[in-house]
């Protein structure tokens, strides 16, 4: 890998060297490195467009890194990655995609991730998106995530996109069985003329299941964001979705909350708030010696932390 690819890898996966545990690094459409471990097996799909990650039942405290780097202008790819997470395992999965585009053709990576989470398994999933490069070609990411959770399993998803991605359409669906718990934390900042659409469809199918989908976002310059979250309660369950956004400059934000209760014991809550940075917050930090611009940065950094 060259220095640009290595830097992007550090941005999206906090990787500065070969990671510990299992990994698969994809660079410009081909595998740039792979390692399976005794409990985590990574294999290519027969048709070549993606990988299967199989985690043995009972695997504890292990991690899988599967970052993707695109540094060639004009590259478009759709990749299917399937995760089979064995029962009673406890693992961390770090994905993420970074695009460096200094050419005039659009670069696009559409990653479709499917998670089959076994009974009582515990998964932490981290996905970071990043774009850079001063070419006129757009940097496009359209991730699709499907989560199928079996009885008693839990999954925490951290989705972060802070800079440089021109266009994103993210669709995440989840189906939860009995006593499953899903927590989604989305952090998003758009700038320039970027557009980011985030769609969540969570179905709480089993008794005792719960979901907490929380998005914090900042829309700067002329960017546009849409947050569209639906939680359907089909059993006695708890669902909560929250969209908290700061709007700046000429940014636009559309929040579309939707709850669907199909069981009298489904408890569903939605919260949404959009507003600019409060003047008094700026004043307070300026009285501590920050300039207005520095105060804004501190407020946004804290908000997206």
């Amino acid at each position: 890998m060259d220095t640009i690819q290595k830097r992007i890898l550090a941005e999206v996966a906090d990787l500065h060297a070969v990671p510990e545990g299992a990994y698969n690094i994809r660079a410009n459409g081909v595998s740039a490195g792979r390692r399976s471990t005794a409990n985590i097996e990574i294999t290519s799909k027969p048709e070549g467009a993606g990988i299967d990650i199989r985690i043995r039942p009972g695997t504890k405290k292990q991690s899988v890194h599967i970052p993707v780097v695109l540094s060639e202008s004009g590259l478009k790819e759709t990749v299917y990655n399937d995760f089979f997470i064995g029962a009673d395992s406890d693992v961390v999965i770090v994905a993420g995609c970074g695009i460096h585009n200094c050419g005039n053709q659009d670069s696009e990576h559409d990653g479709i991730h499917r998670f089959y989470v076994g009974e009582n398994a515990k998964v932490k999933y981290v996905e970071k998106h990043y774009g850079e490069g001063d070419g006129t070609g757009k940097r496009i990411l359209n991730p699709g995530t499907e989560v199928y959770m079996e009885k008693g399993s839990s999954m925490e998803m951290e989705m972060v996109q802070i800079r440089g991605v021109d266009s994103t359409e993210r669709v995440t669906t989840a189906q939860l069985a009995e006593d499953c718990r899903l927590v989604v934390k989305e952090r998003l900042m758009t700038h320039g003329s970027q557009s980011a659409v985030s769609v969540y469809k969570v179905e709480l199918n089993g008794a005792g299941s719960s979901a907490d989908v929380v998005s914090r976002s900042v829309a700067r310059d002329d960017s546009f964001q849409k947050f569209d979250a639906t939680i359907a309660g089909n059993a006695p369950c708890h669902g909560h979705t929250e969209c908290d956004s700061i709007i700046m400059d000429h940014g636009r934000i559309l929040a579309v909350p939707s709850l669907e209760a199909n069981d009298t014991d489904a408890e569903l809550i939605h919260e949404a708030a959009i507003g600019k940075i409060a003047g008094e917050q700026l004043v307070k930090l300026m009285t501590l010696g920050l300039t207005e611009a520095e105060a804004e940065e501190q407020i946004i950094n804290g908000f997206l932390k």
Binding site: A278, E280, V283, I299
Partner: protein
């Protein structure tokens, strides 16, 4: 140290033209604890905002250590050495107490140093240092954190706008102790507090009474305070509770 000369402040709103401050002049000498009191709506908080630069006067001049600061913005005044504690402390999602203290100090404070500032305002540092400065904190806790940020700045002049506003009686008692400590270690700095609480007035070296946009009295505490006892300019703790209803 700080001097306000012929300060006027007026606004045009729905009610028409309102003179909030008519002609206010006073000086805060070095090493003094000065309290501005007076009835509600008399213009006290406006004076604090004018000193911090949150509002600009319609007329008059403000000097700080001999420099004309009338046209300087909030940041410039803060950097010259003016601190300002807001009457209603501000909440921030995601910013932790330690972040705020570090911004205030303008450097990488160690955890031990941060804890020291929190202990001085009566907060158990271990419980608070990593808390977010958000809606989970009570009014009294926020107020103390606000004061801790002023301590962390350690500037020449500290201005407190009604530090007792919005806190319970219990917190009020410990707040008084914090101000008594600050008075003891004042050295070459100065403190200006906007308050009409008798207990805070008792700590003062000088008292300024502002009513109807003008200064009606300015002198040493021993002379001014006896005249104020029993009026709205010097409320006792019980009257304070009744006032809050």
């Amino acid at each position: 140290m700080l001097e306000l000369k012929n300060i006027r402040f007026d606004v045009d709103d729905d009610a028409g033209h309102v003179d909030i401050l008519k002609d206010v002049s006073f000086a805060i000498p070095e090493g003094k604890f000065v309290v501005i009191t007076g009835p509600n709506g008399g213009g006290k908080s406006t004076i604090a905002k004018l000193i911090a630069g949150v509002r600009r006067p319609t007329g008059g001049k403000i000097t700080f250590d001999g420099q004309d600061i009338t046209d300087l913005d909030i940041t410039q005044r803060a950097r010259l050495g003016i601190s300002y504690a807001l009457q209603q402390p501000v909440r921030f999602k995601g910013i932790q107490v330690i972040d705020l203290l570090r911004i205030a100090a303008g450097r990488e404070l160690s955890v031990a140093e941060s804890c020291d500032y929190l202990s001085r305002v009566g907060l158990c540092a271990r419980d608070y240092i990593n808390r977010e400065v958000n809606a989970s904190l009570s009014g009294g806790e926020l107020k103390r954190i606000e004061i801790a940020t002023i301590l962390a700045r350690g500037t020449r002049l500290s201005v407190f706008d009604e530090p007792e506003a919005g806190i319970d009686l219990w917190s009020f008692q410990s707040l008084i102790r914090v101000f008594e400590e600050m008075r003891k270690s004042i050295e070459r700095s100065s403190i200006l507090v906007i308050s009409h609480q008798e207990r805070i007035l008792e700590i003062a070296d000088e008292i300024i009474v502002v009513a109807d946009g003008k200064i009606s009295r300015h002198g040493p505490k021993d002379e001014v305070l006896p005249e104020l006892i029993g009026t709205a300019s010097a409320l006792s703790s019980c009257e304070r509770l009744q006032e809050r209803g």
